[in-house]
Amino acid sequence: MSQAILYDSTLCIGCRECEKACAARWKLPYNDKIAAEEKISAHKLTAIQTHGEHYSRRLCMHCNEPACASVCPVGALNKTALGPVVYDETKCIGCRYCMLACPFQVPTYEWSSRTPRVRKCDMCYDRRKAGLPTACAEACPTGATISGDREQLIAEAKRRVADKPDQYYNRIYGINEVGGTSVLFLSAVPFDQLGLKTRLPKEPLPQLTWGALSLVPDVVSAGGVLLGGIWWITHRREEVAAAERGEKEGKK
């Protein structure tokens, strides 16, 4: 019953109501100047982007197996069972590894704050828990952004592509990218033309580190035995040599 967001670029009219609703929900300032910024930042957690005659949206992709949550040394980021990837600002130490690790370069930082936080979309976790749609989906006048169950949204996306194959690029972004995401994209044109990363691996990124990290217990036990063994042999050799010298001297 994992929750997700479907953004259909072909229905988006670039009205930025989603941006406004998002700012209101996070109690962030919103004005014409901020509206004109077509990138996400610590004061703008979702952004509508213009790519020629097409629109695109930037927001946290809520990966099924998020790199940010796997790299966080204090577990400040977590994938909830409901679907959203949430951030606990009381744990965060500000190492910013999540920002480096995120394949979509989503987490942003309050660079000018004395007590900075990481900022990113949390898919309106509190609203979703209460069964409400996300603020952006609720505000969208054309249905370009809708929220709901991930499987149902994938089925809906497939239906749209099948119904109007001439209007859609025949793929759904987010089904396989880095092991699947909880934000899905539909588009009229190939996704790289919407500024989306299309050369991402299909497997979840945390697997790459786990391969190395899972060897730690082996390194500890094998290393301990090996080093202890070498130490014993090298020092035993010395003891034996000393004892032999002693014996010889004793015989004399």
Binding site: I40, S41, A42, A67, S70, V71, C72, P73, V74, G75, A76, K91, C92, I93, G94, C95, R96, Y97, M99, L100, A101, P103, Q105, P107, T108, Y109, E110, W111, S112, S113, R114, T115, P116, R117, K197, R199, L200, P201, L205, P206, L208, T209, W210, G211, A212, L213, V216, V219, V220, G223, G224, L227, G228, I230, W231, T234, H235, R237, E238
Partner: protein
């Protein structure tokens, strides 16, 4: 108070001791850097990271992580390498260069923590990994290893302090637990030196393929040992000039032979890995990454070849030049992985701000100053001088 005492204790002494100052303006440079570092610390604390760094949302890690942390930890690897050589492999003849290596390592790790206090967004929460665990995070593992290993280094260094002040009881305790501590130190070093490479396993689509490889943990580990050995040679050279001691040539030549073999292994592994991943063609692509890679590799290949020569290994200046090349090659590698190799993938060109450079230089200068101070006050080299038989 402490700083005042340190000042009066260190600097008047420098004139009275034998040995030549290599840097004539060292003292003023040092104090200018300290003042600069303090000023940046103030800015950092009250105006935030944005005011003192050129970091940004797409480029969250810069010079402080790339140099102060990645290079700092690596350059301190001589500590665990020599501890293993002397205490585990029982090659006692290397004992005279063990204490300087432990001191370097201990200072190195303490300074890494100092740099981290600048770089962390919430330095007041540096202790959080102690109680908030995420065993799936490489950073979590590194945090624990660095913390534990810094404690191990403190235990390995404290005997020098005890000897200086004639404290017998703690010395006996330390001696009794020394072997488990030594083994623990080598294991912890193995873990986090390699894990610094594992940190970058998560960015396959960002780090340029000349550097990104699943072998990064192994490569980081071997190169850390290489630079640890090179740093021992580097230190011996400088301390011999600084303190007017003779240089332990037979020992350094022995270390140099080990260095030649380790470097060759490292280079062979990197080239074979690049070949196996089908990346050798990248070496011909005319772009910045290629030139930086060639620079880095030549700084490692040239000394590796030179060190196979008997004459080079037995000439102090040539040995020093080789160790310097390895140190610079290592720094080039870490900066390529953390900064230059990431620029294209992150879509940002990053040049550190003067404030970032000031802190880095201040941290390095502080390291040199404390090393000198400790080496003059504690039996770091004395024990070496006594046990060292005159070279024929």
């Amino acid at each position: 108070m402490m700083a005042d005492r340190a000042k009066t204790m260190t600097f008047p002494n420098t004139v009275s001791l034998p040995g030549v100052h290599r840097l004539p303006f060292w003292t003023p440079i040092f104090w200018v850097l300290m003042a600069g570092g303090a000023y940046v610390a103030y800015l950092r604390l009250f105006r935030g990271l944005g005011a003192v760094t050129n970091l940004s949302d797409p480029f969250p890690w810069g010079l402080w992580i790339g140099f102060d942390v990645l290079c700092g930890v690596g350059l301190a690897a001589g500590g665990f390498t020599l501890v293993a050589v002397v205490h585990i492999f029982n090659l006692k003849r290397y004992k005279p260069i063990l204490r300087p290596a432990i001191l370097t390592a201990f200072l190195g790790y303490v300074l890494v923590v100092v740099a981290l206090l600048f770089d962390l967004g919430r330095p007041d929460r540096i202790w959080h990994p102690l109680v908030m665990w995420n065993p799936h995070s490489v950073m979590f593992e590194v945090a624990w290893c660095v913390m534990l290993y810094t404690s191990v280094l403190a235990l390995e260094f404290v005997p020098a302090v005890c000897e200086r002040f004639g404290w017998k009881a703690p010395l006996n305790v330390l001696r009794a637990i020394s072997i488990p501590v030594v083994i623990l130190g080598v294991i912890l070093s193995t873990l986090h030196q390699s894990s610094l490479g594992s940190l970058y396993l998560i960015v396959p689509e960002k780090l340029y393929p000349l550097w990104y490889t699943p072998l990064m943990p192994v490569l980081f580990y071997i190169s850390a040992i290489c630079v640890g050995v090179a740093m021992t040679i580097f230190e011996s050279w400088h301390s011999s000039r600084e303190f007017g001691r003779h240089i332990e040539m037979p020992l350094l030549s022995g270390m140099a032979r080990l260095l030649a073999v380790l470097l060759s292994m490292y280079i062979a592994l990197r080239l074979m890995d690049l070949f196996q991943r089908g990346g050798l063609g990248l070496v011909l692509v005319p772009r910045m990454e290629t030139y930086l890679w060639l620079l880095e590799m030549s700084l490692l290949i040239v000394p590796a070849l030179l060190l196979y020569s008997y004459r080079v290994r037995h000439s102090a200046p040539a040995l020093y030049a080789c160790s310097l090349m390895v140190v610079f090659g290592f720094i080039a590698n870490r900066l390529n992985v953390s900064v230059t190799g990431m620029e294209a993938g992150l879509g940002v060109h990053y040049v550190p701000k003067w404030t970032e450079v000031t802190v880095t230089l201040a941290v390095v200068a502080l390291g040199f100053a404390i090393f000198r101070f400790a080496a003059r006050r504690l039996p770091i080299f004395e024990s070496a001088e006594l046990s060292q038989k005159p070279v024929p």
